[in-house]
């Protein structure tokens, strides 16, 4: 049983097999070889895993992100942030971080944020004299904020996998997301002072007012999503669906930057991206079921307990492990593969699963821009046309900052849990 549930998946994963296939093949072989259950159970569990209202939020949030990227919403968000931070030293890079934060509060997808915001702010930053390495590094790293600040697709998947409340996880992600944003902005300010960067242009209330009016409908989106969820008006799934309708109306009828034919294309693209994730969700359901019924998960917990590690050391080891995994595998697959294994361990250590959800999301999000294989790096390479060496050099300081923030979040649970249990 050990080899079909632990060794085989690792082997297939290393061979580069699709993640859904790794889970499906391992589960099918385990059922055939070790378990005395009817194989038709495979179908039942695959269907049953996706037969969930909470998981509907995933395609809807992906759809919102795609519409925003194509329909002019991101450009208006950037213009507004630029007006607000106009006279600050390092105003343009700070604008990029702020725009990633606002965009992340709507879309919840890190690569989509890098592509959408990066496309708009990369050229102006380069024209203002910021080096290629600094610009590409900043934009590649800032995408991490979208994964942490609610709504977050990663948190929905964790919640589904760990049987936790999506709303509680979203609430727990607010302070960590803002902390990332703030730490990046502080670093940029320090760097701008050190490099004696002159402020871009003078601040003007008139311009702020103009951009606020121009972008009011785009700026209202986070309020609709998060306000609707936290006021109890909508469930996260309903809020995501409402955001889709709002984004369609705004981009199709008001901004007119997307055509009806374009909308169908975007819907098809979203369904495609949804399928890439949800098929893994479906197959991970079978895998988790086998882990539970076989007693493998409790056995793993007992082995971990036998090591007699303090929660501090255990969390440090888990952080290192997750950072490594995150640099090699995408966030969704990592969460779905590892949550059923790690949550019982952290529960046994007395760590709150909501807090751990934040730790896991942050770790894997950092992995998204960690060399050599973080997904955002390749998105940045495709969008900016910068070579990998330049991007690697640019993201180095942000990795350091992110790891420091991660340690703060790991060892001060209150930062995540204070709002969640308010």
């Amino acid at each position: 049983m050990i080899w079909t549930l632990f060794v085989l998946p690792i082997l297939l994963l290393v061979c580069g097999f699709p993640v859904f296939l790794v889970l499906l093949a391992s589960a099918a072989i385990s059922i055939l070889v070790h378990f005395n259950v009817p194989p038709a159970l495979l179908h039942q569990v695959v269907f049953g895993t996706l037969d969930s209202f909470a998981l509907l939020a995933v395609p809807f949030f992906i759809f919102v992100g795609e519409i925003m990227g194509s329909g002019g919403v991101s450009r208006r968000l950037v213009n507004w942030c630029d007006a607000v931070f106009a006279n600050v030293r390092g105003g343009l890079p700070i604008t990029s971080v702020a725009a990633c934060t606002v965009f992340g509060a709507i879309s919840g997808s890190s690569p989509a944020t890098v592509a959408a915001i990066g496309r708009i702010t990369y050229r102006p930053m380069r024209d203002s004299g910021y080096s290629e390495s600094f610009t590409a590094g900043l934009l590649t790293s800032s995408g991490v904020i979208a994964n942490i600040i609610p709504p977050s697709v990663a948190m929905i998947l964790y919640a589904a996998s760990a049987q936790e409340s999506v709303v509680r996880l979203f609430t727990a992600g607010i302070i960590p997301g803002l902390l990332f944003s703030l730490s990046f902005i502080l670093y940029i300010s320090w760097r701008a002072r050190k490099d004696k960067v002159a402020p871009g242009r003078s601040f003007s209330w008139r311009r702020v007012w103009r951009e606020t009016r121009a972008g009011a409908l785009a700026l209202a989106m986070p309020a609709i999503i998060l306000g609707g969820i936290y006021s109890g008006m909508f469930s996260p799934t309903e809020a995501a669906g409402m955001a889709c309708v709002y984004a369609i109306v705004v981009t199709l009828c008001i901004y007119r930057e997307i055509t009806p034919a374009g909308l169908f294309r975007v819907a098809g693209d979203s369904a495609f991206r949804t399928s890439q994730i949800m098929v893994i969700v479906a197959c991970s359901g079978v895998f988790s079921w086998l882990l539970t019924t076989s007693g493998a998960a409790p056995a793993l917990v007992r082995s971990f307990e036998a090591l007699d590690l303090s929660p501090i050391v255990a969390l440090l080891l888990i952080n290192i492990f997750l950072l490594l995994v995150g640099a090699m595998l995408d966030t969704a697959s990592s969460i779905l593969l590892l949550t059923p294994l790690l949550v019982p361990i952290v529960k046994a250590l007395g760590i709150d699963p909501v807090h751990f959800g934040i730790i896991m999301t942050v770790n894997l999000s950092i992995g998204m821009f960690t060399p050599p294989f973080g997904l955002n790096i390749f998105v940045a390479q495709a969008v900016f046309g910068a070579d990998l060496k330049t991007i690697y050099a640019g993201i180095a300081p942000y990795i350091l900052i992110s790891v420091l923030v991660l340690l703060v979040l790991t060892y001060i649970p209150g930062l995540s849990l204070w709002l969640a249990y308010l």
């Binding site: 297939l12 994963l13 290393v14 061979c15 580069g16 097999f17 699709p18 993640v19 859904f20 296939l21 499906l24 093949a25 099918a28 194989p39 038709a40 159970l41 495979l42 179908h43 039942q44 695959v46 269907f47 996706l50 037969d51 969930s52 209202f53 998981l55 509907l56 395609p59 809807f60 759809f63 909508f234 799934t237 309903e238 669906g241 409402m242 889709c244 309708v245 369609i248 169908f264 294309r265 975007v266 819907a267 098809g268 693209d269 979203s270 369904a271 495609f272 949804t274 399928s275 890439q276 949800m278 098929v279 893994i280 479906a282 090699m328 595998l329 995408d330 969704a332 697959s333 294989f373």
Partner: protein
């Protein structure tokens, strides 16, 4: 031909299912807040539509070879070895997905014989469950064609 049937068509149909799901969600919220009459079958319909969207587009993802994977080590291998591994992945995919499709078929037969119906919509449960069969059978076929095309 392969691209139109295995990539573009499922993507289009998947997109339509997603749009229909968004529309039902909106109608349900409007019904609840403005008319005091939520659509009682909305939740079930949305789940079934997204299930179909996922499994239809699954065929397209397989045919485009766009599944998420960890290709870290595969990229380090010599070209021929990398290709052989990719081919092996497709072959394992055909077997595993074909096996799941067979299990789906047997489950569908049982659901059909018991005339199982959904709670709210009262439609035969074969309808949503068939998405799994269509997705995995279609994907297995797409993977098989990809192997076949390699031979040529």
């Amino acid at each position: 031909m392969f691209e139109a049937i295995a990539i573009r068509l499922p993507r289009l149909l998947g997109g339509l299912c997603l749009l229909a799901g968004v529309g039902i969600n909106f109608a349900n919220i409007v019904g609840r807040f403005f008319f005091g009459a939520p659509i009682f079958w909305a939740e079930e319909a949305m789940i079934f539509l997204v299930l179909w969207a996922v499994f239809l587009t699954f065929i397209s993802v397989t045919a485009s070879r766009a599944h998420l994977n960890m290709d870290l080590f595969q990229k380090l291998l010599p070209r021929r070895a990398g290709r052989a591994l990719e081919l092996a992945g497709l072959a394992v995919g055909v077997v595993a997905m074909g096996y799941l499709a067979l299990q789906s078929w047997s489950s569908l037969q049982k659901l059909w014989s018991f005339d199982m119906r959904s709670i709210s919509l009262q439609i035969p449960m074969v309808v949503p469950h068939a998405a799994v069969l269509v997705g995995f059978a279609g994907s297995a076929a797409a993977a098989f064609i990809l192997i076949w095309k390699r031979r040529e």
